[in-house]
Amino acid sequence: MMIAHVIGTVVASKSAMSGPFRLLSPYGSDPLTSACSIALDPVGARHGDLVLVAQGSSCRWTSDTDEKPVDALIVGIIDLIHRHGKEVYRSDGSGV
């Protein structure tokens, strides 16, 4: 799964799939030069949260998204990341 920052929200009333939809900045990418990705958000992520994003057909393996046209799905809000035994990220729970 991809790790990404939630940087905003997209509203679309004429849509084949109901939202909410979040704007994502994949961890380590430059949002100013790369195409912006969007994910469906059933977990209530907020601006500033670091989230887990499932991509591809695996996104359709939930009751809400079964047979729906969705290819990116926020499946979790990250609390903590440890790398090589060291804490590299901890959410304070407030978003930004």
């Binding site: 929200t9 679309a12 004429k14 799939m17 729906k68 046209p69 290819d71």
Partner: protein
């Protein structure tokens, strides 16, 4: 899904029979917050009837077949929504109602 702007249409006469009568849109992926084109142009099916100039988002891969329009078709990219508004970093970056087309 990926954010893009509809910049044209594509017509093809010699094509797979499943594509008969299907609208093909030319879209360019865009950045945030400026909504500038990245130069990456792709051809997309359209499940919502987007017009040229509109900001949309497209679903790719096998999920592109999960609309009424594209069911059972050889589609790998489909416009599934026309964007009304975008907020990023707490500020409005796009309002469809304010854009002159």
């Amino acid at each position: 899904m990926v954010l893009a702007r509809v910049i044209g249409t594509v017509v093809s006469t010699a094509k797979a029979p499943q594509l008969e009568g299907m609208k093909l849109s030319l879209v360019e992926k865009v950045t945030i917050p400026a909504l500038q084109g990245t130069g990456e142009h792709v051809v997309s099916f359209d499940a919502v009837g987007a017009n040229i100039g509109e900001v949309v988002f497209c679903v790719s891969g096998s999920s592109a077949r999960m609309t009424e329009v594209t069911k059972g078709k050889p589609a790998d990219l489909t416009i599934i929504a026309i964007v009304d508004s975008i907020d990023a970093h707490g500020a409005p970056v796009y309002r469809k109602s304010e854009e002159s087309s």
